[in-house]
C-alpha cells in the first residue's frame, strides 16, 4: 500500500476507522469525559457541604429559580442567601483558580518541553505574592487611608502587577535576539522566584503580629471569604486564558518535538511562545490575586491527565482544566472540613496531597524505564 493509494481510496466505515485509530485517542476522550464527570460531582459536593448543608435537589431548585422558575418550587431564604452570596462565589473562584493553575502548568510544560515546569517555576506566583506582601507590610498605612472600596482592590491589583512584572523580567532575560530560549527562561524563573522569596522572607521579618496573619493567606493560599466584587475582575482575567489556551493544543504538540521542528511543520514558534507565556501569566496572575500562592496544582494535575490520556495537548489541555477545577474544589472542601470550625489554608492541603502523589508518580515513572 502506498501513500497515494491511501489518499485515493474511499474512506472506510466508522468501525474500521475506529479500529485504525490509535487506541490512546479513544482512551483520551474517555479520560476527558471522566474529568468532566468528576467536576460535576465536586460541584455538587462543594456547593452542598458546609455549616449549612444544601442537598443536590435544593441546589437544582435554587439554580432553576434564579433562571426564573420561582413559581414551581419554594426554597428557603436562608438557603438561597448562603448559596448565592457564600457558596457560589467560593466555588466559582475554586473552579477558575484550579483550572487556571492547572492549565498554565500544562502549557508551561509544553512550551519548555519540560515535564517539571510550573507557573511557580517561571516566577509568576512568587512575583505576585511578593507584591501583595509588600503592600500588606510596607504599604499598610498608606492603603489604610484609602476608601474601603478601593482598599479591597489594592491587594489583587498589586498581585497581578507583581505577577506580570516577574513574567516580563523572565521573558526578557530568557530571550536572546528575539528568540526565547526555553532553558534560559526556566533558569531565569528559578532566579526570580528565589529573589522574590528572599523579599517575602525579609518582609515577614519586618512584619508585626496582625500582618503575619494576613501574610499567611498569600503564602499558603485560600479562597475563603470571597465576594462577587473581589471575584469578578480576577474571574475575567482567568476566563480568557482558560478559553484561549486549549486552542494552542496543536502548536504545543509540535513544540514538543522542538522549536525548529514546529516551524518545519507549519507553526510559528515565536508567536506560539508569546501567546502561551502571556496567557499563562495572566491566568496565574488572576489566580494568585484572589487566592494567594497555591502550589502543586500546576504540576500534579497535568501529570495525572498525561498518565491517563497521554501527552497529546488536544486532550491534555481540556482534561487538565476540568480536573484542575474538580480537584481544587475537593481540596478546598477538605480545607474547610478537617479542622472545623476553623479552616486550613488550601495551599497546605494541595501540598500535603500533591507532594506524596508526585513522589508516587516519580517512582512509577522509574518502573516504566
Amino acid at each position: 500500500m502506498t501513500l497515494s493509494s491511501a489518499m485515493k481510496r474511499s474512506k472506510p466505515g466508522y468501525r474500521a476507522r475506529l479500529a485504525a485509530m490509535a487506541p490512546r485517542e479513544r482512551r483520551a476522550a474517555a479520560v476527558v469525559a471522566g474529568c468532566a464527570a468528576l467536576l460535576v460531582l465536586s460541584l455538587f459536593l462543594a456547593l452542598g457541604i458546609g455549616a449549612v448543608s444544601i442537598s443536590p435537589g435544593v441546589i437544582g431548585r435554587l439554580i432553576l429559580n434564579a433562571l426564573g422558575a420561582e413559581f414551581v418550587w419554594e426554597t428557603e431564604t436562608r438557603d438561597a442567601l448562603v448559596f448565592w452570596s457564600i457558596r457560589v462565589p467560593r466555588v466559582a473562584a475554586g473552579c477558575l483558580v484550579g483550572a487556571a493553575l492547572a492549565l498554565a502548568g500544562a502549557t508551561m510544560q509544553g512550551i519548555f518541553r519540560n515535564p517539571l515546569a510550573d507557573p511557580a517555576l517561571i516566577g509568576v506566583s512568587s512575583g505576585a505574592a511578593l507584591a501583595a506582601v509588600a503592600v500588606i507590610v510596607v504599604g499598610g498605612g498608606m492603603v489604610g487611608t484609602l476608601p474601603p472600596e478601593i482598599r479591597a482592590f489594592a491587594l489583587p491589583v498589586a498581585a497581578l502587577a507583581g505577577g506580570l512584572t516577574a513574567t516580563l523580567i523572565v521573558y526578557r532575560l530568557g530571550s536572546v535576539g528575539g528568540q526565547i530560549m526555553a532553558a534560559t527562561t526556566l533558569l531565569a524563573g528559578v532566579a526570580i522566584t528565589a529573589i522574590a522569596q528572599a523579599g517575602i522572607g525579609f518582609l515577614i521579618f519586618l512584619s508585626d503580629e496582625q500582618q503575619l496573619r494576613d501574610l499567611s493567606f498569600w503564602t499558603l493560599g485560600s479562597v475563603a471569604g470571597l465576594n462577587w466584587s473581589l471575584l469578578l475582575p480576577a474571574a475575567v482575567l482567568m476566563a480568557g486564558p482558560i478559553l484561549l489556551l486549549p486552542r494552542l493544543a496543536g502548536a504545543l504538540n509540535a513544540m514538543l518535538l522542538g522549536e525548529r521542528e514546529s516551524f518545519h511543520l507549519g507553526h510559528d514558534p515565536q508567536r506560539v511562545k508569546r501567546l502561551a507565556i502571556g496567557l499563562s501569566a495572566v491566568a496565574v496572575g488572576g489566580a494568585v490575586s484572589i487566592s494567594g500562592v497555591i502550589g502543586f496544582v500546576g504540576l500534579v494535575v497535568p501529570h495525572i491527565v498525561r498518565l491517563l490520556a497521554g501527552p497529546d495537548h488536544r486532550w491534555l489541555l481540556p482534561g487538565t482544566a476540568l480536573l484542575g477545577a474538580g480537584l481544587f474544589l475537593l481540596a478546598d472542601l477538605l480545607a474547610r472540613m478537617i479542622v472545623l470550625p476553623a479552616e486550613l489554608p488550601i495551599g497546605v492541603v494541595t501540598a500535603l496531597v500533591g507532594g506524596p502523589f508526585f513522589i508516587w508518580l516519580l517512582v512509577r515513572r522509574r518502573d516504566w524505564g
Binding site: M1, T2, L3, S4, S5, A6, M7, R9, K11, P12, R17, A20, M21, A22, P23, R24, R113, N114, P115, G250, N253, A254, L256, L257, G258, R260, E261, F263, H264, L265, G266, H267, D268, R306, G310, P311, D312, G369
Partner: protein, 263 residues
C-alpha cells in the same frame, strides 16, 4: 526551477558561514550536499528551509523568496528531517507521524489520517512500531518515525507544485542497510515529480543515490555538477584532505570512493 539559491550569504555575528553561494535545482532531482565539518552545510539547509533569514542574497522556492512565505505556506511545500530530535514526552509513533498532517488540515484538505499515517509508517518499514512510545525506540527507529512524519507532511498536502524534501544528515544514527533505505525513499520521492536535498557525510552513499553533487568548502561551492565528474582524487584531497582512489562500482557503474587515509 523549484529551488534557486542566489548569492546567498549567511553571517552569525562577525563570522561569515556562507558567502555568495549560488545553486539551483529542478523537480525530479536528488542533490547531495557534501563537505567537511564547518563548511556551512547545516547553515545552507537552515536558509533553504526558511528557518534562518539570509544575511545577503535570496533563496527562491517556486520562484518566490522563502522569506515571503508564512510558516504554513512553507510547510505545504517543503519538509525537513533534522539530524536528531529530542522528544521527552511519551508520544507514540502514530502520534508523532500524525503531527505531519497539521499544515494540510489547516489548508482544508479532507484527510483519512489513520490510513495516511499507516501508509507512511509502512513505507519506512516500521508499521509494527505504530503504538510504541517514541522515546523508548532506538535511534534508528526514531529517525524513521520522523522520516515518516516528513513523508506524510508532503503526501497529505495539496499539490502546489513540486515538493522539496530536505534531509539534514539523515543517516547519522542508522545502520548501513537503513542508510540505503532512507536514500532510496528520498530517491523514490523525487521520481514522483518532487525534489530532495540531502546533507550527507558518507561520500559513497551520496555517490550511490544523488543525481547531482554540491561540494561545499569554506562557505563556498567548490563543485556543482554530476556525481561522476565531481568525485576526483584531486577534489577529495583539496576539500576533504583525504587520500582516496575512485573506482567504478562493478554492478551500478557509480563511483566508489576508496579511502586510504587523511592527507
Amino acid at each position: 526551477m523549484l529551488l534557486q539559491v542566489q548569492r546567498l550569504t549567511m553571517r552569525y555575528g562577525s563570522t561569515e558561514v556562507l558567502s555568495d553561494v549560488d545553486f539551483s535545482m529542478n523537480a525530479g532531482e536528488l542533490v547531495a550536499i557534501v563537505g567537511p565539518n564547518g563548511a556551512g552545510k547545516s547553515t545552507l539547509v537552515a536558509a533553504i528551509s526558511g528557518e534562518v533569514p539570509a544575511t545577503g542574497g535570496t533563496v527562491l522556492l517556486q520562484a518566490q523568496p522563502v522569506a515571503n512565505y508564512s510558516a504554513r505556506e512553507l510547510a505545504l511545500r517543503r519538509t525537513v528531517l533534522p539530524q536528531s530530535t529530542s522528544l521527552l514526552f511519551h508520544f507514540t509513533a502514530y502520534e508523532v507521524v500524525h503531527l505531519g498532517l497539521h499544515c494540510a488540515r489547516e489548508a482544508g484538505a479532507d484527510l483519512d489520517a489513520p490510513e495516511l499515517v499507516a501508509a507512511a509508517l509502512e513505507q519506512v518499514g516500521i508499521a509494527h512500531l505504530r503504538d510504541r512510545y517514541v522515546p523508548t525506540l532506538s535511534g534508528g527507529e526514531r529517525q524513521r518515525v520522523h522520516l515518516a512524519r516528513c513523508l506524510v507532511q508532503m503526501q497529505a498536502s495539496p499539490r502546489l507544485g513540486p515538493k522539496l524534501l530536505i534531509l539534514d544528515e539523515p543517516t547519522a544514527s542508522l545502520d548501513p542497510a537503513h542508510q540505503h533505505r532512507v536514500m532510496a525513499i528520498a530517491s523514490a520521492f523525487t521520481r514522483r515529480g518532487n525534489a530532495a536535498i540531502a546533507v550527507v557525510h558518507d561520500l559513497n552513499l551520496a555517490a550511490a543515490y544523488a543525481d547531482r553533487l554540491v561540494v561545499l568548502n569554506d562557505g563556498g561551492v567548490a563543485y556543482d555538477g554530476p556525481v561522476a565528474g565531481g568525485l576526483t582524487p584531486a577534489l577529495l584531497a583539496d576539500v576533504f584532505r583525504l587520500d582516496a582512489d575512485i573506482l567504478s562500482h562493478p554492478r551500478t557503474g557509480r563511483p566508489v570512493i576508496l579511502q586510504s587515509g587523511p592527507l
